[in-house]
């Protein structure tokens, strides 16, 4: 910051308020009022509201209003060609009785469970591996972040080629190593395997965020705490359990929540790797198909609302379970 002292002194010496001269440091954090006038036509206090208006309009029109429409629409039968009419909970009955929807719902729960556990455990492992400073660590961190930057559709297409039943390198490597004796169809045959492998693709992309969050937390633990643990005769595992884990709980909570929201919303990977089969279908894919292929908008709204509520309830529960305020 090229803040030359003279500038700051000028402002302090200028006749702003008497108190500003006395303590420059306290003013640093204080928000102050600037004159909001722009020209003769503009009232002094209007400028902040004008500056914020485009933001409020964008968020209001494209986030808040649509959410309200989804909530209301879930209770109507909506057909693009006819006026909508109120049907109460009928759309939700569809959500909970339709067998393919139930498969998608259960799959989504598996996606979320595998995603949260996988991303956080992998993130923790990567963070511990990279905790100490060494020469090429910056470069390795850049490599770790790279999968996150790849568009998820592109990542899924690449992994689809790796999993390919005829020419995929997964089959090739496993048969070369004599772990498999023939090429195997990984996706679409066995439902649970399909879901787990598709989630592995998502974990490849979201674990970097978990790793970075946890790494930042690990590095902020004071070294004295580890020395104290050593003096008290605690072994590595005990130190990890009793010192490290409690102190990185906020980071673990954040990592779990980001993985939870992303995996409950999984769409791109499922669309690419398992589009036409129901075996791996997720709630988001089911919503897309119901709405935009079958044009059953009411059903789509009900699914959306169910999934949104699921996301909120799970997020709050997970935060309650894992998050603890720490101080050291």
């Amino acid at each position: 910051m090229n803040l030359t002292p003279t500038v700051a002194d000028d402002s302090a010496a200028g006749e702003v308020t008497p108190s500003s001269v006395s303590s420059v440091r306290s003013r640093r954090s204080r928000r102050f009022r600037l004159r909001g006038s722009g020209g003769p036509g503009l009232r002094a206090g209007a400028l902040p509201y004008l500056l914020v208006m485009p933001l409020v309009a964008a968020v209001g029109v494209f986030a808040v209003y649509p959410t309200a429409l989804t909530t209301v629409g879930a209770f109507y039968e909506v057909d693009p060609l006819y006026p909508r009419h109120f049907v109460g909970l009928q759309n939700f009955r569809g959500v909970f009785t339709d067998p393919t929807t139930r498969i998608s719902l259960i799959n989504t729960l598996v996606y979320a469970a595998v995603g949260v556990a996988g991303a956080t455990i992998l993130g923790l492992a990567v963070a511990i591996t990279l905790r100490r400073r060494f020469r090429s660590r910056g470069l390795i961190l850049a490599c770790v972040v790279l999968p996150w930057a790849v568009p998820s559709v592109v990542g899924a297409v690449i992994w689809g080629w790796i999993f390919d039943p005829n020419f995929g390198v997964l089959n090739g490597a496993l048969t070369s190593a004599h772990i498999l004796n023939h090429y195997y169809v990984w996706l679409g045959l066995h439902r649970f395997l399909t879901v787990v492998l598709i989630e592995v693709v998502q974990i490849w992309q979201i674990a970097p965020i978990s790793a970075l969050i946890i790494l930042a937390a690990l590095q902020s633990i004071p070294a004295q705490l580890y020395e104290a643990a050593l003096v008290d005769g605690a072994g590595p595992w005990r130190t990890f359990r009793r010192v490290t884990i409690p102190l990185i709980r906020p980071a673990l909570a954040l990592s779990c929540v980001q993985a939870l929201v992303l995996s409950l919303n999984i769409f791109d990977q499922v669309y690419v790797l398992n589009y036409d089969a129901t075996s791996g279908s997720s709630l988001m894919l089911k919503t897309y198909v119901d709405t935009f292929s079958d044009l059953n908008f009411g059903q789509g709204y009900a699914l959306s609302l169910t999934a949104t509520l699921l996301t909120v309830v799970f997020t709050v529960t997970l935060l309650g379970l894992i998050y603890r305020r720490v101080s050291y």
Partner: protein, 285 residues
Amino acid sequence: MKLLRSAGQRIGNKPAIALVILWSLFPLYWAAKTSLTTLASAEGRPPKYIPAPFTISNYKALFGIQSSGADIAYQFGRSLVNSTVESGGAMILTILIAVTSAYAFARLHMRFKGVIFASVIGTLLLPAYATLIPVYRMMSGWGLVNTYFGVILAYTAGFVPLAMWILYTYFQSIPAEIEEAAAVDGASALRTLIRIVIPLSAPGIASAAIITFMLGWTQFLFPLVLTSDLSSQPVTVIVAALNGQRVVPFTLLMGAAALAAAPPGIFALIMNRRIVQGLTAGGVK
């Protein structure tokens, strides 16, 4: 036992680091390797781990230099243009809205400021489920389906809370004295913003802009719904479509994948420090 332990200390965490790198980079290497060889080599058993024979004919086909892929080259080229316009447009609009509003939130007095700020940030928690269908129906009602403007609007609304948050934190880290000096000298708030705050925050604005561009480039679900022809389909939608056709050779497909991943990948490598800082800011406490 003692011998084992000293050996363990010498090796340290090198095997773990090697595993981390392999896991992160192997899929990307595999895509690049496949795109740089012939189909016969890519589909050979057992798999070849290096691109032999080496060829760039897949990239020539994707760019239309070779006649064999003229159709795909046209689709792919156009989708790259679409992605650039849509991500770039969303980036510019998002930053314009985010800079002005973040400044107002960070520095100006306003009634209900806390409530407005919290509501805007709160929309970050809304999953795509909540807004997808109504946004599609609104866009289709306004005739904005299959237009750049429709996609840009949808992206901007989605990205602007995050960009505003990044800039808000950045503005707060700038000492207020300079702006006060400007106020004393008679500059209006708007003038202070344009002449002092924006130049001082150039690094913060740049990182918010690049993160916004990356977010736009990687979108799939919203453009899949909001676009249905080449006039506006971005590269993510086209790569998924090429993959779905099941007739495009894997070598060509991996070339397309590599090119589609390149812009955000390169940004991530250049901006690595800033991204790491930005993503971890909230996670420490």
